[in-house]
Point group: C3
Chain length 328, copies 3
Amino acid sequence: MNDRDIQLDEQGRLRHLLTIEGLKRQVLTDILDYAENFASAGNQTVKKVPLLRSKTIANLFFEASTRTRTTFELAAKRLSADVLNVNIDTSSTVKGESLLDMLRNLEAMHCDMFVVRHNRSGAAHFIARHVAPHISVINGGDGSHAHPTQAMLDMFTIRRHKGDFTRLRIAIVGDILHSRVARSQIHALTTLGVPEVRVVGPHTLIPQEAAQLGVHVYHDMEAGLRDCDVVIMLRLQRERMSGALLPSEQEYFQCYGLTPAKLALAKPDAIVMHPGPINRGVEMASEVADGPQSVILEQVTNGIAVRMAVMAMTLGRHRGQDSEEAAS
Amino acid sequence: MNDRDIQLDEQGRLRHLLTIEGLKRQVLTDILDYAENFASAGNQTVKKVPLLRSKTIANLFFEASTRTRTTFELAAKRLSADVLNVNIDTSSTVKGESLLDMLRNLEAMHCDMFVVRHNRSGAAHFIARHVAPHISVINGGDGSHAHPTQAMLDMFTIRRHKGDFTRLRIAIVGDILHSRVARSQIHALTTLGVPEVRVVGPHTLIPQEAAQLGVHVYHDMEAGLRDCDVVIMLRLQRERMSGALLPSEQEYFQCYGLTPAKLALAKPDAIVMHPGPINRGVEMASEVADGPQSVILEQVTNGIAVRMAVMAMTLGRHRGQDSEEAAS
Amino acid sequence: MNDRDIQLDEQGRLRHLLTIEGLKRQVLTDILDYAENFASAGNQTVKKVPLLRSKTIANLFFEASTRTRTTFELAAKRLSADVLNVNIDTSSTVKGESLLDMLRNLEAMHCDMFVVRHNRSGAAHFIARHVAPHISVINGGDGSHAHPTQAMLDMFTIRRHKGDFTRLRIAIVGDILHSRVARSQIHALTTLGVPEVRVVGPHTLIPQEAAQLGVHVYHDMEAGLRDCDVVIMLRLQRERMSGALLPSEQEYFQCYGLTPAKLALAKPDAIVMHPGPINRGVEMASEVADGPQSVILEQVTNGIAVRMAVMAMTLGRHRGQDSEEAAS
């Protein structure tokens, strides 16, 4: 299966957003440019736009996530779409057959988009391969595979602060191995031309194929942060703690927690990012999270704009055509 | 109590939809005709219409049903109504008194319609008898009594495929005894002039009064399907399996499951229907469910249109009047 | 900390509604006057108004309450705002830090208003002290401290029936000690100029500082009701029963339940109020709850209008300004 094929329609326009991998730089830039329309700086007011009026967007969350679901729901409502929250007991859809029956039913109800979060890698792809031609699928996070809207909101935030991607040195710190966020970020940064992407973490949490992704591996945080323009901290899944992969939270913070002292090794104007929610005192000190270099809350705001852009682009592909048809 | 009286207002217009029983053919035809407005064939787009703007529709679901609730919610939203989902812990409303207090409160909040699903037969009637004069009640399924919107979407689907009801031979197969869907279908088919309605199932699952309803009873499926224009399969409630009423799923499928071989006994252009969700391999083989004669997903699509029609007709009764009042 | 300061903005306009205590009479009268716009008597139709289009209102309910949440949700929708229901597991926000992180995130998503219900007194104040400048906070009930929108809908109901506050004798009956409703009512009645406010209940349920609030204390219900214009019954929290504070429900009803006989001691045109839901046969007899002097369901209807008024006033403060900016 070729991801690029399934994500684009015959005219090369974005139909689904399942993964960053395989998307061309122009597509990513189009998303970032489009998102600028929905993110007017210095203004608290969000205008509601009628772009997706009469469209129905179904949130299919097989994995609980109030936070991510909320941002997709707000993005959809601000585009004037109707939102259907479908809470799915995974146990009742264990058999692929009943999942497909559910999809067919939602299609028959004239849903136009599925936002999918699932704890199994590949779930959003599976669904995208089986939906009707007019439906778009957005991956809201699948297993440890991909979280493309999170990566795109991170790119949007970086571009707003740093402008040009082609001169940046960026470090991603933490549990790279299990992080769908990191995987999507690496693909996005590489595609957008960032010359130096570093991953920083203990041996147990860096995947062996990291080097093949074109990133530089650091196990020493001080070395990893030195002269960076952007420091991206990952969220530590606390359930990993119970296994043998990690020492205690205190030891982890000692080695890989971001403190003012460690941050001082990066460039003076470096920005600090985190996908949230933060484990304060584990991934980073509160002084950093709330400090002047943190852009963590901007990421949240930008998340709405980027998700609005992706929804409007994918579902709005035929608008031009439709108008012509209507006119003719 | 006379059902016809409670469902119609003084001008003979539909005020509630609680049961098909007692409604005249013209009322059923009006619903089907009205639903045509909301079901434009060959078009994926559903236009949002402002017919119920400023109306509030409360879903009172005393029995869990994501599926049916979703179709009512979508129908309401596409009519521009506001929807209130009230999840009701049946235990807290055991006393009729507290149910009535809840109704009075929702009325006082200016709700305009209650969509009621309850596991006790007669619940929607009870509520309809106690609501304020401006409120409409739609029965979304009560015990084993009635499920009138399901029956009407089935009639809509049959009419779209077969045109004239007065020349049809229709078989309903499965657990007739416990099925509110079957009961409502039989009333609707009979009222609309279908000359031959058959019910097919084991002795234990056919009610004794079936003959009085004007239907023909078959215990042999081959005989029951022969030369039918429409085959309606019912969902088997698996909890019945535990009792003495039914053999194993395999045996049931052997006797009453719809296979391509059995379907071949019906007319070549017979359509296959099912209210969903299907137990594949129990009520029917997947080849039939997904085959060319299946109209099961059309039923789902038509369910939205028919529910929009019922909501708009019952709540929109006074529109003409209101306009006159406003004009005078 | 000065409550008046935090509730008003620099121009003296209402920004938050956290408590009645400290608000001037003119502010309360403004709310009542504004609510008249949304409560057209003798008309079942509620017009949907676009006053808060493009605004997002988040319901933060740390304490379960379908009823109150529903009225806030309906009020917001009828003002054309988008509503976000955030169900919060109190256990996950035990640390003040994670509550603040949640607030920061909702702010970053461009929420404009938080409606807060919490079982700890002071929770809404805490949140109001920490939100961004453009955000308004409405207290939907905090511990045994305050429930200001309930008090204002009660004032609205009293004014509709009695007109002038300055000639009234009003009794509040029941568990004054634990009632946030009673506390807010007393402040509102006193501020609006009611010359005689009585509290009626057993010694164990009247707070010792009652006299300092300017109210008259009665332990004998007959004496307390005599010649009153308004009788406000409080809901009895049944969990209090288990402690030593209260006798059995039957004994409570004997002493402090409102019966037709006791009500006859009040003025002939006295109205009976209750915040709902009623424990019939505990706080009052059904003959009274459903009788001609009861205005309990009017309170529910007025609750929507008053909440619409508070939401529109607090969030609409800058509208004039914005228009000017837009025009210049």
